[in-house]
């Protein structure tokens, strides 16, 4: 990284510190102060750097590498992918300076690798993570945790047994906008949360081009049940994590329905899902996702008697917004009396039209980072200082479990309760 890149990175972190406020930084982003005060002229010694390997070099692995290149305390020493085009790209993007492997076990054999980043298809997360933790490596693994709940639990247990860091790629947990929103929620700005809705709507087939038919499942693994739970593990898990975080609880029941009603192209996973999660306090999360209409995009809506938050938009809407200035109020009333329709009969009720309140931004600045850069900074900091945040693993574990149980509820067409044996403290 050159000096100007270092400077802009430091400015970025400082800006985050400034816009989020010190209380948030202290409680949620403890590494940020240390990073913001880093001396850009100081050259890190090899012992200050963490040596890292990347396993899985698809689109996400690629993106994570770009973020990691901005972090001076990370040195990429090895890459691994068993798909030749990705393997070549991994070597190319690291300027052929790293060791490259087709088998991840060879990478884990390298003694002086401190940590690995796992960005493989979902069904491979569990065994690679467990092997890496057992090999004494800290692990950053992309979400969701695993294809089946038992594997998620095994990952957590191995993390706890080995004492090695296990961080799961839920970048919203590191997004300052979300952290600030959670601070407002904890301060009671919405009142008790009574209703949550989340959705993720796209209008595309989610397919990637396949050079030859035998590679279909390797490339389009998201579409096949053997490898993925489709919308639930790839999209919903992010938003369920946000809902859990906002409520401060984890769901104990889920019911749902889904189908393939548009992309009838041989895929096995649903192209639309609709679920209701119930939390111990009685609050529900209503979730839906589809791939045949993008009009509503994605959003997480958190509602309470005092207000609403739309977290993707980064906005908060009070139920009792400050009144308009008196003069405008007066002019509006005059206008309404003069121009409004005069009812001569009919219904005596007023329709519950949506509020026209435009809301306020949770953060006034757009930081142009969805949290991915900061989550990688956090991982580097945690590895360097051997600091484990137990709450992180609980949050990410239950997000994965909820996504997987949601998929099971759709498949089995029944209400699923979280089994006692899957609960962790």
């Amino acid at each position: 990284m050159n000096k100007s890149e270092q400077q802009s990175r430091r400015e970025f972190i400082r800006n985050v510190s400034l816009v989020t406020g010190t209380s948030v930084v202290a409680s949620s982003l403890p590494w940020m102060n240390a990073l913001a005060n880093e001396n850009p002229d100081q050259t890190l010694s090899p012992s200050d750097k963490i040596r890292l390997g990347i396993i899985g070099f698809g689109s996400r692995g690629n993106l994570l590498l770009l973020h990691m290149k901005n972090i001076p305390s990370i040195e990429i020493v090895a890459v691994c992918d068993n798909y030749p085009p990705h393997f070549d790209r991994a070597k190319e993007m690291t300027n052929n300076k790293t060791k490259a492997f087709v088998d991840y076990r060879k990478l884990l054999e390298i003694k002086d690798i401190d940590a690995v980043v796992i960005a493989t298809p979902l069904n491979e997360h569990a065994h690679i993570t467990i092997n890496a933790l057992q090999a004494g490596k800290h692990v950053f693994c992309e979400k969701s945790m695993a294809r089946i709940p038992e594997d998620c639990l095994a990952m957590v247990n191995t993390h706890r047994e080995t004492g090695k860091i296990l961080q799961i790629g839920h970048q919203r947990m590191f997004n300052p906008k979300y952290i600030k929103a959670m601070e407002f929620i904890r301060a009671g700005q919405l009142g008790n949360i009574t209703q949550m809705r989340a959705f993720w709507h796209r209008n595309n087939d989610w397919r990637r081009p396949v050079p030859s038919p035998e590679l279909e499942k390797k490339i389009n693994w998201r579409l096949y049940k053997e490898f993925s739970c489709g919308l639930m593990t790839e999209l919903a898990s992010h938003q369920i994590q946000v809902a859990n975080w906002a409520l401060g609880e984890f769901p104990d029941k889920v019911m749902g329905a889904g189908s393939i009603n548009y992309w009838k192209d041989g895929r096995e996973v649903h192209d639309n899902v609709n679920l209701v999660y119930t939390y111990p306090c009685g609050t529900q999360l209503i979730y839906d996702s589809c791939t045949s209409n993008k009009h509503y995009g994605l959003e997480e809506q958190i509602m309470g008697p005092k207000g609403t938050m739309e977290l993707e938009a980064g906005k908060m809407f009070s139920e009792t917004p400050p009144p308009a200035p008196g003069i405008l109020h007066l002019l509006n009333n005059i206008e309404q009396k003069v121009f409004d329709t005069i009812p001569l009969g009919g219904a005596s009720w007023v329709p519950d039209s949506p509020s026209k309140n435009k809301g306020e931004y949770i953060l006034n600045e757009d930081l142009e980072d969805d949290g991915t850069q900061l989550e990688m900074e956090a991982f580097a900091y945690s590895v360097k200082n051997n600091e484990i945040d137990p709450e992180h693993i609980r949050q990410t574990y239950y997000a994965s479990i909820a996504a997987l149980l949601g998929f099971m509820a759709i498949e089995e067409e029944k209400v699923i309760t979280v089994p006692e044996e899957l609960k962790i403290v």
Partner: protein, 79 residues
């Protein structure tokens, strides 16, 4: 061609009408603050609305005055 002359007296009269319009708008602002129980600082923070409103009142007065003058002119012609 005859020059159009705006006399000092006319200017003074128009300024008085503008002032009256502003006083009406300001008074309405005071009334609305009391009626809707809003904040007194709105006398300052909504000054731009008051000024805009006073201009609207001024033009309404202009229209009313033109109508009155037109009617008066018609009466004068009939006699």
């Amino acid at each position: 061609m005859k020059d159009t002359i705006i006399t000092a007296k006319q200017k003074k009269r128009e300024l008085i009408f503008l002032l009256i319009s502003f006083v009406i708008a300001f008074a309405l602002n005071v009334y609305s603050i009391i009626y809707y129980n809003s904040q007194w600082k709105e006398l300052i923070t909504t000054l731009h609305i008051t000024i805009l409103f006073s201009i609207i009142i001024y033009f309404l007065l202009v229209i009313i005055r033109l109508i009155i003058r037109g009617i008066a002119y018609l009466f004068k012609k009939i006699r």
